[in-house]
């Protein structure tokens, strides 16, 4: 099990857009493995590769209560199914301690590849829809606090910087 370090907002490396995956090889397998370990350890319900400083379009997710239904999305693309918008409170492993409501499309169509490179489609709703959109944003260099006003975003940024400046208490 390899739990990797998660980049913390406002780390500039969270802003680099990610490259599509071309080779579905052993390296990808071990990356996905590390991402899953890191996500379950955190614990989170979704993690994108950029958060562990790997700039590739890979996402792992598990929104189940039982924590045993891992989903892997490689090179995901999202289309809004135009079923209206919905506001749900979100939190992020890179922005620990903050939960804010974000408005997003209620239902989306996800097109992605699995770990062997096979293409698949998925209609996502509920928490899966929220989570996949949150993670795809990461791959595009976006963080959920970008949806907030500048004042709120900077307040969060300053609080995080301040909490890290203090001796190592990990804000969960």
């Amino acid at each position: 099990m390899a739990v990797r370090e998660i980049l913390m907002y406002p780390d500039p490396r969270l802003r680099t857009p990610c490259e599509p995956v071309v080779e579905f090889d052993k390296a990808l397998e071990s990356l996905v493995k590390d991402m899953a370990d890191t996500m379950y350890d955190a614990p989170g319900i979704g993690l994108s590769a950029i958060q562990i400083n790997v700039h590739k379009r890979v996402i792992v997710m598990d929104v189940s209560e039982s924590r045993n239904q891992l989903q892997v999305f490689v090179n995901p693309e999202i289309t809004d199914l135009n079923q209206g918008m919905r506001e749900v409170e979100e939190g992020c492993l890179s922005v620990p301690g903050f939960f804010v409501p974000v408005k997003r499309p209620e239902k989306v169509l996800v097109k992605a590849q699995d770990i062997q490179g096979n293409h698949f489609e998925l209609e996502a709703d509920e928490m899966t829809a929220v989570c996949i959109q949150h993670e795809v944003d990461h791959l595009d260099g976006k963080v959920f606090v970008d949806y907030l006003s500048r004042m709120k975003r900077e307040r969060i940024r300053d609080k995080l910087l301040k909490s890290r400046a203090e001796p190592a208490t990990r804000v969960a």
């Binding site: 955190a42 989170g44 319900i45 979704g46 993690l47 929104v63 749900v88 409170e89 979100e90 939190g91 992020c92 492993l93 620990p96 939960f99 928490m127 929220v130 989570c131 949150h134 993670e135 959920f144």
Partner: protein, 450 residues
């Protein structure tokens, strides 16, 4: 992404957080408004029924120790909370109770108390709650407790404490001590169906530890309480829940022969069913209580599969319910302050006010006088209270016997306790029973045909 937890909305707040907020509200209503704890706990506002045991433990415990905890809160809070935020005072009290008396780790108590502020819609108080409880943990051993008023040191209201002290100057400490303990779950065996030894054996075979009561020959206590429906023999009517001191009442009534027996103020029917179990072969047993309370008697009878003549009526107005047949035995378990059962009903600490004892005294005296008229010459009345105050016990008997010369007080024979001027007093914790008072009065035969 991290799984969001939803705040504010109580239905989705974390289970235990919600529990503490709910307990604080219950304690507030008991302490500030004198509401009945039992009634508030009938239908607790809990989304998850699994939290109910913890909820009850916290509610009972915080009510039991509130005056004591309140002293610490007085030291911890620079100034009292505003009246509209008084709920936070009770939330802090529940927190301190948990820290002192429950197994929850301190950090978890703090976490839950802070979280409960949002269920109470007072998010602004998170730091306050956290700070006060942290200060408590840090400083609890440094306070000068010798400055604590005596009644608060014993977790009592000033009125009740002073009254107990003046009524029982040599024993008040053991009384208040026993009143603050958790009561045992005591069962009564139905001798018509089984014996005490057999019942105890059955329970032990089901690995429930139990001990025979010292003073009641038909009772035993369970070492760790369980829901009654899990007790073997409960639903079959072999055992009933009844305190040891309450069990002694029916035993003292001497119902030998074909007698007409009245259980006045019978609800919830514990003593009625005891009388029926013992004497139904020979005696006719009537139970009377106010209409609203009769359902309880019916429920109790139904569980045990027993029949009795249950009459709705006011004991003081026999004209409305009495059939005219005089009774040979009357068990009169009058309404009282309940000062002997505070360990079972800690809300009594807040419900009794100065002046209540005089009201009870008047009611009790008039009830005794009323049932006296229904008694056959040669018959007996057993007057019973679950109070330890003379005003409701010997004083009632004194004023009753001063009203006529046909009232013979008889010695209590089967109940161990402290003999008083007229009757027998059991204090809370005697054997393992509640505080009860009994007095037996006989109507002489010579007064027939006045």
């Amino acid at each position: 992404m991290i799984k969001p937890y939803k705040k504010v909305n109580p239905d989705s707040a974390k289970g235990s957080v919600h529990v503490m907020a709910e307990v604080a509200e219950v304690v507030r209503r008991v302490v500030d408004h004198g509401e009945s704890l039992d009634r508030l706990l009938v239908q607790p506002n809990l989304p998850d029924r699994r939290n109910e045991p913890a909820f009850r433990e916290m509610a009972y415990g915080t009510c039991r120790y509130f005056p004591h905890i309140d002293w610490y809160l007085g030291m911890l809070l620079e100034r009292p909370l505003r009246q509209k935020d008084r709920i936070l005072h009770f939330l802090l009290a529940v927190g301190i109770y948990q820290i002192e008396h429950m197994r929850t780790p301190d950090y978890a108590v703090l976490n839950e108390a802070v979280g409960a502020t949002s269920s109470l819609d007072r998010n602004w108080a998170r730091k306050l709650v956290n700070g006060v409880l942290r200060n408590y943990l840090r400083e609890r051993s440094h306070y000068d407790v010798s400055e604590m008023p005596e009644h608060q040191a014993h977790a009592f209201s000033e009125f009740l404490f002073d009254r107990i002290k003046s009524d029982w100057p040599k024993r008040y400490l053991e009384i208040v001590e026993a009143s603050n303990t958790r009561p045992p779950l005591t069962l009564r065996v139905n001798l018509a169906k089984t014996s005490r030894d057999k019942a105890i054996q059955t329970l032990q075979e089901n690995s429930m530890a139990c001990v025979a009561t010292r003073d009641s020959p038909v009772g035993f206590t369970l070492s760790s309480p369980v829901p009654v429906n899990q007790i073997p023999g409960f639903s079959q009517g072999e055992v009933s829940v009844q305190d040891e001191s309450a069990q002694l009442a029916a035993l003292e009534l001497e119902c030998d022969g074909n007698l007409n027996v009245l259980d006045a103020c019978a609800a919830p029917g514990g003593k009625t069913t005891h009388l029926i179990e013992m004497f139904r072969e020979n005696c006719t047993i009537t139970a009377v209580d106010l209409d609203s309370r009769c359902t309880l008697i019916h429920q109790n009878l139904a569980r045990l599969g027993l029949q009795a003549n249950v009459v709705a009526g006011d004991v003081r107005k026999p004209g409305t319910w009495w059939n005219g047949n005089p009774y040979d035995r009357i068990l009169l378990d009058v309404p009282c302050s309940g000062s002997g059962v505070i360990r079972r009903h800690p809300d009594i600490k807040y419900r009794r006010k100065p002046g209540d004892l005089d009201k009870f005294h008047m009611l009790q005296t008039s009830m005794l006088a009323a049932v006296w008229e229904l008694l056959h010459p040669g018959g007996l009345v057993l007057y019973v209270t679950c109070s330890i105050f003379h005003r409701e016990n010997d004083d009632v008997i004194a004023s009753f016997i001063s009203q006529g010369d046909d009232r013979e007080v008889q010695a209590i024979g089967k109940i161990p306790g402290i003999a008083t001027r007229f009757g027998m007093q059991r204090l809370p914790g005697f054997g393992d029973g509640d505080g009860f008072y009994y007095c037996k009065i006989r109507k002489p035969l010579r007064t027939t045909g006045e």
